[in-house]
Symmetry: C2
Subunit: 500 residues, 2 copies
């Protein structure tokens, strides 16, 4: 077959697969934001059938041959298609190692899991989630066996799925550096025995919180013609191409800043997806390069930009006017200290920037044991509670505030959590470069984040999956990933805030 025809054939298959992906994008969006509990049994049958239909294509001889033939002629392809085919071929070779039936059965489990998790969390009933969690973990153990190579085994396989090249060894090194630098800092701050301000313990009207988050969409220049913000149990971002990117948020009347920083975080993800080059739409390079790079962007906006005094010097008056009764006596400085208040607390998503990594380390250690350690599913909560005691010095009052707090494991995402910490470190390295190129204090203080978006689009967003994190970092900052920027950033920032 000539090359032109071969490419046309590939693009035809690709559109088939994208059509299935689009269906599953909206089905999942519906499951996570709207569908009612009573519909999930039927839905799981239908979803697994869709998976089967998609596998019919991705496991067909025609598709496999087309991709393989293109892979064998990489040098003849244009630059973008070459990168895409490399990625697709690699994924294909991997996916062929996993039996189709396993994947179909797993879809069925996953399609009910988030609902079961969400009810278990609501009712503080870990036992009701445990059998599902066991099925998910067991699948991931088998999955890692299917994909193991001489170099990669067990949990490493899963880590590599989310961030190519990352292994337990590298994460252990990264986390031990963090532990070594951050734990003493946290201890010093804790020793100051600073109390959380009283004013934070008020009721903050949820409709006004929504109004402020809507305002933040404009601050972040998020074009509402191409996306929206909705509510769900756990905030997340979901998109399909640059023209349909959606985020969710969750509002607590007694936690003012939770919805604010969740909004900025998710809109950070969304800005990344929206910022992909348009040419990547309808390709498999759309969305972003890796989860860690994705998290680097969400956390860049959430922490590096939006936990600065410059940002709030601009936007605090708006917040204050919305919640005048509650905030009239709270100064910008009070607010700034509050949003950077360091505290060992129970909930990861509510954690401050400094202790955040400790929450990640708990999950990382858990996952190592879950995937490789033969830990019994009934013992997970005990282990969780033990690690929280060890890393954060906390007693866990119940599973809702403990092991049931995150949706990730219900989604089968093992190996994902560590990318949050890695992403923060990528972000700090990018920030170091950004400071060389512009007056960030001025830029963060502008009425909107147009300039931040433009800079990150140029350095990161536009590439989607065209470049690896390493390529992006080298091109943007002149060097490979270096965790020292993250450690420096945290030490400088919090020493300054706490006068250490």
């Amino acid at each position: 077959m000539n090359l032109e025809k071969l490419i046309a054939r590939y693009k035809d298959y690709r559109l088939d697969i994208l059509a299935f992906n689009f269906a599953s994008y909206l089905i999942n969006w519906d499951s996570d934001t709207e569908a009612k509990a009573g519909s999930f049994d039927d839905r799981s049958v239908l979803e697994s059938r869709l998976t089967k239909l998609e596998l019919k294509i991705t496991r067909s001889k025609g598709y496999i041959n087309t991709v393989t033939e293109l892979y064998n002629n990489l040098e003849l392809l244009d630059e973008d298609l070459k990168i895409e085919i490399k990625k697709v071929y690699k994924d294909l070779v991997k996916s062929l190692k996993v039996p189709k039936e396993e994947l179909i059965a797993y879809t069925k489990v996953l399609s009910k899991a988030s609902q079961i998790w969400s009810e278990a969390k609501l009712n503080n009933d870990y036992a009701s989630f445990a059998p599902t969690l066991k099925q998910i973990v067991d699948f991931n153990i088998r999955y890692s066996k299917y994909l193991e190579t001489d170099k990669l085994k067990g949990y490493d396989v899963l880590l590599n799925e989310f961030e190519e090249g990352m292994t337990k060894e590298k994460y252990d090194e990264f986390f031990s550096l963090l532990k070594q630098e951050i734990v003493p800092l946290v201890k010093k701050i804790n020793a100051l025995k600073i109390k959380k301000p009283e004013w934070a313990n008020q009721e903050f009207d949820i409709n006004k919180q929504k109004e402020f988050c809507d305002y933040l969409m404009d601050v972040m220049c998020f074009d509402k013609n191409y996306g929206l913000m909705k509510e769900s149990e756990h905030p997340f971002t979901s998109g399909f191409g640059t023209h349909d990117v959606r985020v969710t948020n969750h509002y607590y009347s007694n936690l003012l800043i939770s919805s604010i920083f969740s909004a900025i975080h998710e809109l950070g993800h969304a800005t990344y997806e929206r910022g992909n080059a348009e040419k990547l739409n309808f390709t498999f390079l759309q969305g972003g390069t890796t989860m860690a790079m994705h998290e680097s962007q969400s956390r860049f906006y959430e922490n590096i930009v939006a936990r600065t005094k410059e940002f709030w010097a601009r936007h605090y008056p708006k917040l204050q006017s919305l919640f005048f009764d509650q905030l009239k006596d709270v100064t910008l400085d009070d607010f700034y200290h509050y949003i950077n208040f360091v505290e060992c607390s129970l909930i990861r998503t509510e954690a401050d920037e400094l202790t955040y990594s400790l929450h990640i380390m708990v999950r990382y250690e858990m996952e190592k044991m879950m995937i490789e350690g033969h830990l019994d599913v009934n013992d997970y909560p005990k282990m969780w509670n033990k690690l929280y005691k060890e890393y954060l010095g906390l007693d866990i009052p119940n599973d809702t505030l403990g092991i049931l707090q995150d949706v990730h494991w219900a989604g089968g995402d093992f190996g994902y959590f560590p990318t949050y910490a890695l992403g923060s470190a990528y972000g700090a390295q990018l920030y170091h470069q950004m400071k060389n190129e512009m007056d960030v204090k001025e830029v963060f203080n502008e009425p909107n984040l147009k300039k931040v978006n433009a800079w990150l689009k140029e350095k990161v967003h536009q590439y989607g999956g065209l470049k690896t994190p390493e390529e992006i970092l080298i091109k943007a900052t002149g060097e490979k990933f270096n965790p020292k920027y993250y450690v420096e950033y945290l030490k400088n920032k919090f020493s300054l805030i706490y006068n250490l």
Copy 2:
């Protein structure tokens, strides 16, 4: 192949098709309630690809042979499957007459149409919708050509699609009876020159309207574990099996009863779907028998039940307490007269029960001309306005309040409108029987509609697509469809209300 294997094979194909239908159910739900304008171009490409993938199955030799072989062995099938195969075979034979490429292209047009219509309506800009409408009408003209038979041609083909056995001839007869009986009645009532009450022209807080509609869900015993109520531009019902049935509503702060009767109407549809026998889930007999029977149920709840004094004797105090400032001096009797206020008005969905059919007749006459009369798309608004003048004596101030008011044509639903009137007439015939079997005044006055639901479930809902409307009417009322019950019902009701 032995029969058992053949049936298993059919069920396997059926699940494939249902999986595609499920995807398209949620994609459409998303399009109509949530997706943003900027996403529609991409979406239409992906939707038409899904249609293509589904057609690959429904047009495959394997599927066609399986259905045909089962059809040739109907006598060996159990009763339910026999009915399903008859229906599926008939649809298959019809669908094979329409070229695949036409269907795919049409999906693409439809997937953008409701968005284009909705913006045209918002901006009173018929011209921006006209090219799309023309594409849709042209497809329906070609479609009716593909499906025409010796007996059925042109618009009759489309009428028959929505209500088997119905033709222009029969509808003309039905509508001329209605015209003959209703137009004089409307004239008499108009001659009384009764004014709409002043209190209706107040602002009614939308959140309270929502609260009341939520209350109505309970009144109608709608199980919120299996469905929900959301907002959209135009209220509608959408479901997939008995375990996932959703309705939308639209709220106007200056129209109190609009959202109330829309809610009851859509929940009527939803109750029908929820009331299908569980065994019909995952079959092609799920949902209901025809559109007219579906409308008979929604309009039964909306009009026959919920525009009675007995119903409001129970629920008006709740409404009054919610809107105390606005309704404190409005008696039950005032309210009852208001919800049955007869008036020639512009908007079909806001029309009273008596003039409603006149709105339908306008659309019916329009469709005849659109499909058969070579009417130019640019002349539709003129014709619409002319017919409104003729049937309702009204001048149409703009297209938003005129031809752009309904979503149906943007959805390609030609032949649907007349089923609304037919459905009302089915409902009246069922109601006549219901009165023989129970004290309806007592039943409508109960705290909820459990008994109404049970009666309709027994007579209509349980059957889904297992029985034709004719079979249902004969079994329930002892006779074929007879429009006299509808005419009698309307004459009695409105003569009494207006002391004629």
